[in-house]
Symmetry: C2
Subunit: 501 residues, 2 copies
Amino acid sequence: MEKKLEELKARLMEIGDLNAAAALLFWDQSTYMPPGGAEARGRQLGLLKQLAHERSTDPALGALLDALQPYAESLPADSDEACLVRVARREYEQAVRIPADFMARLTQHQTQIYTVWAAARPENDFAAVAPYLEKTVDLSRQMADFFPGYAHIADPLIDFSDYGMTVAAIRPLFADLRERLRPMVEAIAGNPPVDVSFLHRHFPEDGQWAFGLDVIERLGYDFEHGRQDKTHHPFTIKFSLDDVRITTRVHEDDLTEALFGTIHESGHAMYEQGIDRHFEATPLGSGTSSGVHESQSRLWENLVGRSRRFWQFFYPRLQETFPKQLEGVTLDAFYQAINEVKPSLIRTSADEVTYNLHIIIRFDLELALLEGDLAVRDLPEAWRARYQSDLGVTPPDDKDGVMQDIHWYAGMVGGEFQGYTLGNILSAQFFDAAVSAHPEIPEQIAAGSFGQLHGWLRENIYRHGSKFTAAELVERVTGGPMRLEPYIRYLHDKFGELYEL
Amino acid sequence: MEKKLEELKARLMEIGDLNAAAALLFWDQSTYMPPGGAEARGRQLGLLKQLAHERSTDPALGALLDALQPYAESLPADSDEACLVRVARREYEQAVRIPADFMARLTQHQTQIYTVWAAARPENDFAAVAPYLEKTVDLSRQMADFFPGYAHIADPLIDFSDYGMTVAAIRPLFADLRERLRPMVEAIAGNPPVDVSFLHRHFPEDGQWAFGLDVIERLGYDFEHGRQDKTHHPFTIKFSLDDVRITTRVHEDDLTEALFGTIHESGHAMYEQGIDRHFEATPLGSGTSSGVHESQSRLWENLVGRSRRFWQFFYPRLQETFPKQLEGVTLDAFYQAINEVKPSLIRTSADEVTYNLHIIIRFDLELALLEGDLAVRDLPEAWRARYQSDLGVTPPDDKDGVMQDIHWYAGMVGGEFQGYTLGNILSAQFFDAAVSAHPEIPEQIAAGSFGQLHGWLRENIYRHGSKFTAAELVERVTGGPMRLEPYIRYLHDKFGELYEL
């Protein structure tokens, strides 16, 4: 069994290393690659992914997992080995159920619809993408049907990124959240507008860059095992547990985008950097779900990075970096500005309170598309109606309406958006648990000291990688299931005070 | 046959793409990778190389080449298809003759001796590396013996990088060159020293970087299909014919290292950027030999970049970039300084005249080691004797003597050094041919216009990739075999005038 386990690890490591090599090709493509390199790079990325996929679906891997099954079951369920066999089997079974020719068709379609979308969006031409989007819905339904026995057709798609979550669990949770957020948004809308003009003065790139790096180094991002580079669409990427990089973009007329983007990505990256080294290049060596991953980026970005305490420490430093631009701007004024709540059309730049409404709209609409209750041709109208009812704004066009996000036009319909809001909900629940264990954490944040919080997250969340499902992890860490209350309380406390609700 | 040819191209492209992916992993390792990433990167590089090697020695590839042989022979010998089959067969036959277990032992030994050398060199401890170097000599001999029928034991090793060249051809050529260089070096030594002090004022990195990029863009390096990054040991690397990158290092107290290093690497890169796109990711899609490659880097670095005409155009611009540092330094003084001839211990920083003596010493000594005429324990003494007789300097230690170059301590003994001097010889012969075809080239250089020269090189050398061997290419381009005279004449004309010989 020892020998078989070694063989399993060797096979999994080869898959992991091929995927890591592909990741480096992607990283380079997004950061440094000269424009002419694109065509060959696409071909090379395709080859590495194909080699990884062949190995991920190799029947010999299945046989090995079968042979190891009795041994794994004889071990404690939370032992590393039992978890490895369990998670490897889950991924193998997911991979082999999808026929190779379907994957080829899906990939081809995804390339096609992305190209059509990229051209149609600036032209505000939803009619041009509609037939392709219909096909995406159709392919998404076919994909789900490779996993029969589901309660809801979106469940298998959700399993890809938030394993174990279901529509039955998410729908009431999101409905509840929506009912709590809408009155808050309405109440805030009655307040006088916040002055954010000083955030849009001229902030030279070098200063923004250096300040961001200083912040995340203090949070605990490890530059011996990572680095930050510039890109157009920021992301976190891992080449091994010892090389987890982040990317950002800097606008000189916007102080917040690079700063909070950097903190956000460092949250994702600290999670991966903190995983137990024994899980290197195995299916256990990654964060356990989209939702838990997002909880880590959001915890650092919002619960820490947009808190008053955080800026008690950092604001004098920020003023030192940009003395002229922030002259006469008080800590209070700055704190209010970076926490402005204002319903808008664009998800990616939405504030903490309205952000989840953007997600819930998309989640509800994609369920309706998958269920067959909503036709693609009726989607723009449904989108406008929901933005009007939930956020009080109406997209003047489809470009900044139903066509704004890349997701439905480069992936599947269903299974991707829920993680963002699950992450927000979990961020507060995890932060509460950390503060319960170490009540001094808020004061430490005000003193610029983050080791206690980082250490708690590493010990309770990071190091486990994918050993536990999101639900198991939440249970272990907080002593119960996922709960909405900590997040609602956090929002009420923070924005109640900010807006004197 | 069409179908078999397509299959051949597909197989070769997969090998090419795996090697390109490995190249990107190496590039990242040498430029941006955080220190912690080294261990996993080594593993991932090893995997990609192994996958490429398996495909390069796949018997199915051999069978395909056999099947295509009669077809290839029916085509004109200089047709793309005939050349592709011929070069692919040569590389396949080279690869399959080396047993996998020997390659594994060699690789392991190379890692080992490199580690020992890196530790022993600063300590000046030749005794520590000597037993490892003996093993390298032994393995190099074994490697040669996988290719029986050679005239000299170094010939198969030379074939790896300068296919078709032999000791029988190189030895008399190098002996002749040595006899011509030594009197020049002696005559120059009798001259008063040249003032080079102003080259070591403070030249800020940004200015050096921008000036270097401007120079190579004018030479014809294509930034749509390449870029320059910083590294410790500069190199050129290709990920496809549409993405050929260079690297450099900048010392702020040295104006020449980054500048001429950048021009040198751009010469290598322009060769690869200029190869016919039909050869992408096939064995024809690379420069044809070490010697020809070096001829291209040296042509741009020395015959163009260190010429008086070149600086007639660029020196006023350089003075604009560094007005204080170069205040009162005339073009003549600058031209003299960048062409200072001074025998020294270190090959990589040697001037044009003495450089080849460094190479010839190494070439002669490695032949003696392979022939068994020289024992490793006697190597330091032989090295010192040759430096004294050929260059008039004696290394005070082994650190800057026999241990200075990485080659023997990370590769094989034999087969690597000759390319540098073959390249210098060819650079003059090619440049002469270009000027014969277009006598206006020297005046164009003085006007900062390089299109004619670049176009001629692209048409006559670059585009062919590896279609022709070095010997065939020289014959096509110059109408005869490789000749020493153009190079000797170039050196005499240039340094005769500089040093009033």
